[in-house]
Each structure stands twice: as C-alpha cells, then as structure tokens.
C-alpha cells in the first residue's frame, strides 16, 4: 500500500487561489485616511461607556451603541505600553499574501497612551531577552510619500527609554 503509485492514486493535490476585496467600513476608512494624510493615529469613543478605542470601532462591543461621531475622535499614542507579545521563530504561510512569514517576527499587544483598548502590531525588537511586558514602545509611521492608507503605514513599534 505504501508504493508511490498507490500514494498518487489516493491524493489529489489542489491549490485554491481565491481573490477577495474587503471593505474596511466607514470608521476604519476614516482612521486610515487620517493616518495616510496626517500621520496621526486616532481613537474614537463609545458614548455610553466612554472608552476610547484604538483601533476605532463602529460599535461598542459591550454596549452595542454606535461610536462613529467624528468630532469625538482624539489623537492617541504614538507612544504606548507593551502589554504582551509573541515571537515567531518558525515560518508559516500567510493567508492574505500566499507568502511565507519572514522570521523572526515579533508581534506586540500595545496599549497606546490615551486609548482604553489594545491593538496588535509588529515589534522592531526580536530578541526575547530584550522584550519585556510593560516596556514603553512608540509607533514608527512611514514618511508621507510612502503612506497608502492601510495598517502598514505604521511600520512597527520601536522600544523607547524614557
């Protein structure tokens, strides 16, 4: 049963390549526009519980109230506190690009100054000896001419010493 011809009979190799075009929505669209045009990271606010969300949310998860009122948005960060992180030392296939993850790849859960919820983004530092929970970090934003209005306009978070 282990012969090569048998193996070929019982396997069908197939790759599905499925293109998508996702909508970011009104709130995130506005967030990305501000990031692209002015290089500013904004948080919006839930009118019920008062929490500032960054990344902004259209609807508060807890109160189910709409929080899109633009005049209530405030700039947050770019400095913040690292809450926790992971560090990939093995590569995996990325579903959005079909490419392999470039390792080492560290991702931090960051609470930006002024925000009440966390966001996750890449860390510049990849030495686990040097990454400590609750250390201070700062978002590095691309120069204006390189910004495209997506999450990669933030390059990564760098460690800062205050």
């Amino acid at each position: 049963m282990k012969a090569k011809t048998q193996e070929e009979l019982i396997y069908l190799n197939m790759t599905m390549k499925v293109p998508y075009k996702w909508r970011t929505g009104e709130t995130m669209g506005e967030f990305f526009r501000e990031l692209k045009e002015n290089g500013i990271i904004y948080a919006n606010q839930c009118p019920t519980c008062g929490r500032h969300f960054c990344l902004p949310k259209s609807v508060c998860t807890r109160d189910h109230t709409k929080c899109t009122e633009r005049s209530k948005w405030i700039p947050v960060g770019p400095k913040g506190t690292l809450v926790t992180y992971f560090m990939a030392e093995q590569s995996f296939l990325l579903p959005t690009t079909g490419e392999m993850l470039k390792i080492p790849f560290a991702v931090g859960i960051v609470l930006l100054d002024g925000a009440a919820v966390i966001l996750q983004h890449q860390l510049e530092e990849t030495d686990t000896e040097k990454i400590k929970p609750f250390m201070r970090v700062e978002a590095v934003i691309k120069p204006k001419e390189e910004r495209k209005g997506n999450i990669y306009d933030i390059v990564h978070f760098k460690t800062i010493h205050e």
Partner: protein
C-alpha cells in the same frame, strides 16, 4: 423548564497525524458506527443527525451536505456548526438544545476534522479582520503565545511548568489508545524542543490531528428505557467576549470568557469547591500553559495557584484533581473534534469506561470545556445522577 438530557452513546475514531486511506466521510462513518454500537441503536433510531467542523481546514465548504450519507443525516433535520475550537462542545450543546426542547428523543451529534488535508495556521489566521489584525495574527498559536507571556508575567509561572504539563500529558496519552501523540517525554526533553512561537516550543503546542467523535443524546424517558449507564448533561455555559484590554487586566479588572463561564456554571449549580464537587476535568488545553492558567480562569483554583498544582503533581491522572487524563488537546488536536472529545472523555470517566486512563478517584461529576474562535468558551457539567 428544559427537559433532562443524557449521553447514551459514545464513539470516537483513533487519532493520528495522517490517515491517507480514509476520506472525510469514511472518517465520520467510523465514529458514527462506534457510537451506535455503544448505544446498541441503529441510524434509523436517530431523529436528527448534525455535524460540525471548520470548513476551511479541509477546503470543503458546506461539507455536511455532501457527507450526509456517511453521517446518516440524509432526510433528517439538523444544523451544521462552525465555531472554531468550540465546534465540538457546541455540537454537544446543540444536541442538548434539541432534546431539552422536548421536540427530539434521540439525536446524534458529530465533531470531526482532518488536518492532513490542508494547512491549519493560515486557515485560522482568517478569523481576524483582514484590514487590521490579520497581518499580525499567526494562527491560534500566536494568540496563545501572547496569553502565555502575560500569564508568566503576572503569576510567576515558568517555562519549566509548561514542560511539566506536557510531560504529564504524555504519560496520560500513552495510556489512551485513541490519542495521537503517545510518546512519553521527560520535562527535559520538552524543554529542549525547537522553539516555534516564543514562549511555546514544538512540544508545548498541540499537534494537528485527524479524527471524529460522535455522541448520542437522549431524553430522560428514552434514556431510562435504553441505557444502563446514562451520563447526564447537567448544565452548560457558552460565553463570547470582546477581545480587548480585559483579557490582560488593562484599564479594568481582568475578565475573560473562561472566568465568566466558570462563575456562571458554579453559581447556578451551587458548586463552591469545584475540585471536590467535580472529580475530573477534561479541559480544552491547546498549549502547555493552558491547564494551570485556565484552572485559575475557570475559578477552579485561586489566581497564581495553577502552576503550583502542576508542581505538586496534583493534576496527574492519579492526582487529587486530574485534568485531561486522556492526554488532552495537547496530545490530540483534530479541531472540530477536539471539544466534543472532551465531553466524550469526561462521560467515559463518569461511566468508568475510560480503560487504562481511568482516573483513580471515583467520578460522580465531571467538567469538559471548549475554547476557540475569538476567545469563546464552553463549559459543561456532566453527572452520574440526573439531579
């Protein structure tokens, strides 16, 4: 008031990393026929047959439609479930809803997955928002690594404790003929495994397995007539929470879906000492920090005490509070099957039918959990007696 529901039939396939001569339907058929044989019933006795898995793992959308001849669902009412890691526990809970409603007397529920057919991590990464989170989530393992770092930070738990958990699990799985990874590892061997996603090394992550589990659920009147050892589904809780600072105690008191589930279930059932009033817990433990961290989160032990219980050996198969005596998800992880397998294994412990991995304490009540999606929890309480 809901009608009482009992588990009257249990069937599981053997689990492995690869089973090239079996297709999806044949895998399901294997579990279904074992459950029917266990209950001494025929597929014609089943009023509803329902299955669950995660479609993207096998790249087969709406697979329940094509697989209905293998599952026995043809011509019968039912739902398909796809809730990530909680698929299996949701299948058991969904079966419970059907029978508890009084509309069904006998229901067959199936959880299955065949991870040798596709890639797990890229499929899991698609659960997040493509515009903001997806580039920074590396499957379930990335998220689980972040909560592990946070747990070590706040509790004092060390990598060595995670290695002890994995070494214990390997001892348990070696006694379970249906487990996938049955090799025995020492703490040192676990510590020396290749790092995959700091702080989780290869042995501290669950494997990718294939397998299926089927449960037959019956109403009280039916169970009394047909089953000598019914296991009663006494209660269950499902909790969904937002993924935000509360996970990590940022800006507010730490609160997770597991904490909410434990608080609700124990309050509703007047359980004040979970480690005494339940005698075994089959936990959905997808990585080695899960058992100590989540015993705390389910409010079964005090905060920062979980890893101390590991150190004492209390959670081993013959310990004072055995957790995942089957070897758990750490040794067998066919995702859509993983959480229903917890329910099945907990029920086997209550029946006294777990064989070589039967725990040494007498089991009157058992817990089983599911975990997955975007931090969702299921917690089930099973009992030998109906009240």
């Amino acid at each position: 008031m809901a009608n009482r529901v009992a588990i009257v039939g249990i069937g599981q396939t053997t689990h492995s990393g690869r089973r090239p001569y079996v297709n999806d339907g044949e895998l399901i058929y294997d579990a279904v026929t074992k459950a029917l044989a266990d209950a001494d019933l025929s597929i014609n006795d089943m009023e509803s047959v329902m299955s669950g898995n995660m479609d993207l793992f096998e790249g087969h959308h709406l697979n329940d439609a094509m697989l209905n001849l293998y599952s026995g669902a043809a011509g019968k009412p039912g739902f398909k479930m796809n809730t990530g890691g909680t698929v299996g526990s949701m299948m058991a809970i969904q079966g419970w809803y059907h029978v508890a409603s009084g509309l069904f007397d006998l229901v067959l529920v199936i959880g299955w997955e065949k991870h040798d057919e596709g890639l797990v991590t890229p499929a899991i990464s698609t659960i997040t928002d493509p515009a903001v989170d997806r580039p920074f989530l590396v499957g379930a393992i990335g998220g689980l690594a972040t909560v592990s770092v946070a747990y070590m930070q706040r509790s004092g738990c060390k990598l060595e404790h995670a290695a002890m958990v994995r070494a214990n699990a390997s001892q348990a799985a070696a006694r379970n003929p249906n487990a996938h990874m049955r090799e025995i590892y020492s703490v040192e061997e676990v510590m020396n495994a290749r790092m995959v996603m700091y702080p989780l090394n290869l042995l501290m992550c669950c494997p990718t397995s294939l397998g299926a589990t089927a449960l037959i659920l019956a109403s009280e009147s039916k169970a009394k007539k047909i089953c000598k050892k019914p296991v009663w589904m006494k209660d269950h809780v499902t909790v969904h929470v937002e993924y935000g600072g509360a996970q990590f105690g940022i800006g507010e008191k730490r609160w997770t879906s597991h904490m909410e589930a434990g608080a609700k279930l124990f309050k509703r059932n007047n359980i004040t000492k979970p480690m005494v009033e339940t005698q075994v817990f089959e936990m959905y433990d997808p990585m080695a920090f899960a058992i100590p961290m989540w015993l705390e989160d389910f409010l079964i032990c005090e905060p920062n005490e979980g890893w101390k219980l590991v150190e004492k050996g209390a959670l081993k198969l013959e310990g004072e509070y055995p957790v995942s005596p089957s070897g758990g998800v750490l040794c067998t992880n066919s995702i859509g099957d993983s959480a229903i397998l917890r329910v099945a294994e907990a029920a086997l412990q209550i029946r006294g039918d777990a064989g070589e991995h039967q725990v040494t304490r007498e089991v009157k009540q058992a817990l089983a959990s599911g975990f997955g999606g975007s931090y969702w929890s299921d917690l089930l309480l099973l009992s030998k007696t109906k009240d």
